[in-house]
């Protein structure tokens, strides 16, 4: 019973992440910079981290980036969102576990956004092998601050509400 509850929660969070990335992909790009996105799907990971813990957050990220990449039918897209998602989730977990007392959910999310963009750019560099790509690093770092704050704010609202409900009592 307990295990099936956990699987249901995981599936729910992965679905939330997928729906958010579908919504995000239907919006026009923020900037003509590769990887410059709001990162809405990261809300699912942040919620998982704060409501269920590090293991759930990691599982949500891995599952949503792989399934999302398959749905979009783009291997490059899958690789970029997987590496960016994995690196950012690992850093968010580290900050949450080690420095949770000093960082709010917004701080963790901003750090996650910055790491996500940097890791994605590094992966893109490995793919195209051209240093001109790092031209985009400052832009990607700059936008990671507002997008990280937005994702952190949204996640904070959701976790505050969900914590009051018996839904996530497990």
């Amino acid at each position: 019973m307990f295990e099936s509850r956990r699987i249901a929660d995981l599936a729910l969070l992965v679905s939330v992440g997928l729906v958010l990335s579908v919504i995000e992909n239907s919006l026009p790009p923020l900037l003509p910079v590769p990887g410059a996105k709001l990162g809405l799907a990261n809300i699912a990971t942040v919620i998982a981290l704060y409501l269920f813990g590090p293991k759930m957050a990691l599982e949500v990220t891995v599952l949503r980036t792989i399934t999302g990449g398959i749905l979009r039918g783009s291997m490059v897209g899958l690789l970029l969102s997987f590496t960016g998602g994995l690196a950012s989730t690992l850093v968010m977990i580290l900050l949450f576990v080690l420095l949770g007392g000093y960082l709010s959910i917004t701080g963790v999310s901003v750090a996650g956004a910055a790491v996500h963009n940097t890791a994605q750019l590094a992966t893109a560099y490995l793919l195209v092998q051209h240093a001109a790509l790092f031209y985009y690093l400052p832009y990607l770092l700059i936008i990671s601050i507002p997008t990280g704050i937005f994702v952190g704010y949204a996640s904070r609202r959701v976790t505050t509400v969900l914590r009051e409900l018996p839904l996530t009592a497990g």
């Binding site: 963790v108 051209h130 770092l141 601050i145 976790t159």
Partner: protein, 136 residues
């Protein structure tokens, strides 16, 4: 259930430290943007596919307007050269970000298509000598 949730709401000192750390990283990465951007007239558009130079198109005086295709990993990229400027006209990649980048016109400007592994970089005349010493 987790103590982290309750204490996660208020803004904390670490948040400012995180943002400060990112701003420092931005300051350090700004030279990456300005290094190539000497705003001079470019002499050539260098097209690289999978990290290898596939062609080099003269711009400026001896350049003429034209479009041409390059084959990348995801299909064909169509590049347009007009009035000494270069842009991605068509691309088989899924996201079309390279087309959205618009015209590249200054030395150091680049257009990148990650899915198709195509990079177009505008280089100045000073780079020609450098490249002339390389033989294939």
């Amino acid at each position: 259930m987790k103590a982290g949730v309750k204490s996660s709401v208020k803004q904390k000192i670490g948040d400012s430290v995180t943002v400060a750390a990112i701003i420092i990283a931005i300051l350090f990465s700004i030279p990456l943007v300005t290094k190539g951007a000497d705003a001079g007239k470019p002499a050539f558009a260098v097209v690289e596919v999978n990290g290898r130079e596939s062609l080099r198109v003269a711009l400026g005086e001896d350049g003429r307007d034209r479009t041409f295709d390059v084959e990348g990993s995801a299909g064909t990229s169509t590049i347009e050269v007009k009035n000494g400027r270069v842009r991605m006209l068509e691309s088989d990649c899924p996201d079309k970000l390279c087309i959205g980048m618009g015209w590249a016109e200054k030395t150091g400007d680049s257009i990148v298509c990650i899915p198709n592994r195509v990079v177009i970089e505008l280089v100045g005349p000073e780079k020609i000598k450098e490249v002339d010493t390389v033989t294939e």
